[in-house]
């Protein structure tokens, strides 16, 4: 990597209650790329993302932020798992909440042309324009998830932290999200997503492989050593293969495959 890192994790440790869930993670993340954090349940993926967002203090080690000089405005946008929402608030109003960091907290502030453009663009990106005036309570789970993703996109922050952004989404909308994230990365943003869906995770630029709270590998999606780390943390239950020129994760559930 030639550009200096925006976010540097040095020997990051994190705890949840008595449990240490992250141990000695070293990471360098920068703009212009999409990172997918993958690993089995309880590997520390969400914890890593929460640490990066500043929602969970590091138990040891540190995280340094160094955005390019001259950056103003919000530094990050966050999409958590199972985000709640006000059932009676309209989709457009909910997405517009993503503009709050730009607007200040006075009740009369906001509603500039930029705010409107950002909200409209985010609704288009998530295919939710048709529902702009509907209350959130009238939407399905997948549609709500897209509204929350739109809210995170509307912030237009340089760093996007997304925990399971495609949860509840059908295949066409997973594809839509993958395209949007790739486009945003190409525009210079730093996108970090936790993904359970390996096929989608393999659409990213780089993989961060976590296992048992430790960083097992970090590198380009095409790297064989990263593939081996993925297969290893998932206990050989998947195989990363190249199918028709695309990276794919094949389930590997045969009885003889899991006996050494």
């Amino acid at each position: 990597m030639t550009t200096p890192p925006w976010i540097t994790c040095l020997d990051l440790h994190a705890t949840r209650g008595p449990r240490t869930v992250l141990q000695g993670v070293d990471l360098r993340l920068t703009g212009g790329a999409w990172w997918s954090v993958v690993g089995p349940n309880g590997a520390g993926k969400s914890t890593l993302l929460r640490c990066l967002a500043g929602l969970l203090p590091a138990a040891a080690g540190r995280i340094d932020w160094r955005l390019p000089a001259g950056h103003t405005g919000p530094t990050l946008a966050w999409l958590g798992q199972d985000t709640p929402g006000d059932e009676a608030l309209s989709v457009a109003e909910t997405v517009a909440l993503g503009r709050l960091p730009h607007q200040g907290w006075w009740p009369w502030s906001g509603g500039s042309a930029q705010d409107r453009d950002a909200v409209e663009q985010a609704l288009v990106d998530t295919d939710m324009t048709w529902a702009a005036g509907r209350p959130l309570g009238a939407l399905s789970g997948g549609e709500r998830q897209r509204v929350h993703l739109a809210r995170a996109l509307a912030t237009q922050a340089p760093v996007l932290l997304l925990d399971e952004p495609v949860a509840h989404l059908d295949a066409p909308h997973q594809r839509l999200v993958a395209r949007v994230l790739r486009r945003e990365a190409a525009r210079g943003r730093c996108i970090i997503s936790v993904l359970h869906e390996l096929p989608l995770a393999l659409q990213a630029d780089r993989l961060v492989v976590l296992g048992a709270g430790r960083l097992q590998a970090e590198g380009p999606v095409a790297s064989p050593s990263v593939h081996r780390a993925v297969e290893q943390v998932f206990d050989q239950a998947v195989q990363v293969r190249c199918v028709d020129g695309r990276w794919a994760a094949l389930p590997c559930f045969d009885a003889d495959a899991d006996t050494p």
Partner: protein, 333 residues
């Protein structure tokens, strides 16, 4: 694409609210123990009419509206702050604290309180206010601050139950306290005068703008605390300010009118579908609807079995409860 277009009915809903308020105010000035008589007729016909309307009905109607507005505001703030549609103003132990303090004063501290004179009323009102604030303070200290929503809710429930048991104990001891406390428990708007209006108006003038200024914090909180924090909400400060709004508004209302059931819970739910769910409008709308609801209930309390009066809290529970049920049914259908 128009993202900002509010539903066309919203301006109409505000207008209807204004019209209903004017109507209720006229009714409030005209309805007495002998039934309805237009207030201008009363004023023209009777030299005592001026005093009847100016000293009794006007402060009573305005007072009821102010109590309702304080409760409606508290309800909107509570439901936003706790992200729970069942949250209501008395949730943080304010009513339990007020009740215990009044019962304490009636049983042990105030032998002269029973000839319900002006000083006694002031003493009881003061005790209820102090008790209400103390109840919230106790809840906050048990929850170790306002930082943890669930802990705050649980502490509020515990304080409500324990202080409520204390109140019951006092009332078992003293029969006289029982009589006064019953009026408190059912809610009472009959004794509201100009001083009460002035006091509640003063509190509302502080808490309503403060809640309105924090409206976007409440909007952001609907997305959960994590998301709100990443949106840059100063959670600690904002939450303390919202709890202060809640405690102060509820204490002022409870101290003047006792426990008025249901207004604080129902007002935000009644306001939301008609006047918008964004807290910028909801905070104002909920206060207005709460005021209208209680002023209307006060008129009906005087009218239905005149010259007798119904306890106003019973009426608010019936009106608000039935309407809320209708609303929920219609939404599900």
């Amino acid at each position: 694409m128009t993202l900002r277009a509010a539903p066309a009915g919203r301006a109409g809903a505000w207008a209807a609210l204004g019209l209903l308020s004017v109507l209720t105010a006229v009714l409030g000035l005209g309805v007495g123990s002998l039934g309805w008589e237009p207030p201008w007729v009363t004023l023209a016909a009777d030299p005592a009419g001026m005093s009847l309307i100016g000293d009794l009905r006007a402060p009573r109607t305005l007072g009821a509206a102010l109590v309702g507005a304080l409760l409606g505001l508290s309800g909107a703030v509570a439901q936003g702050l706790f992200r729970n549609p069942l949250a209501e103003p008395y949730l943080l132990g304010s009513s339990a604290g007020a009740g215990l303090c009044m019962a304490l004063l009636l049983t042990v501290g105030l032998p002269w309180s029973l000839d319900v004179g002006w000083w006694a009323r002031l003493g009881l009102t003061g005790a209820a206010f102090v008790g209400s604030v103390a109840g919230v303070a106790l809840t906050l200290s048990l929850a170790r601050g306002a930082a943890h929503t669930l802990r705050l809710l649980l502490a509020g429930v515990v304080v409500g139950v324990v202080l409520g048991a204390g109140t019951q104990l006092m009332m078992v001891w003293s029969g006289e306290a029982w009589r006064v406390m019953q009026a408190f428990m059912l809610g009472n708007t009959a004794l509201l005068g100009w001083p009460a209006c002035l006091l509640m108006g003063g509190v509302l003038v502080v808490t309503l703008p403060l809640a309105w200024a924090l409206a976007r914090v409440l909007d952001a909180l609907s997305l959960g605390e994590d998301t709100a924090r990443t949106l840059g909400v100063p959670l600690g400060t904002a939450r303390s300010a919202l709890v202060a709004v809640l405690a102060l508004s509820t204490a002022a209302a409870v101290a003047q009118a006792g426990l008025i059931a249901f207004v604080g819970l129902a007002a935000p739910h009644l306001a939301r579908p008609w006047l918008g769910a964004s807290h910028r409008s909801l905070v104002l709308a909920s206060a207005w609807v709460g005021g209208l609801l209680l002023a209307l209930a006060d008129v009906l309390a005087r009218w239905i079995i005149a010259p007798q009066e119904l306890p106003v809290g019973v009426l608010t529970a019936v009106i608000g409860g039935v309407y809320l049920l209708v609303l929920l049914h219609r939404r599900r259908a």
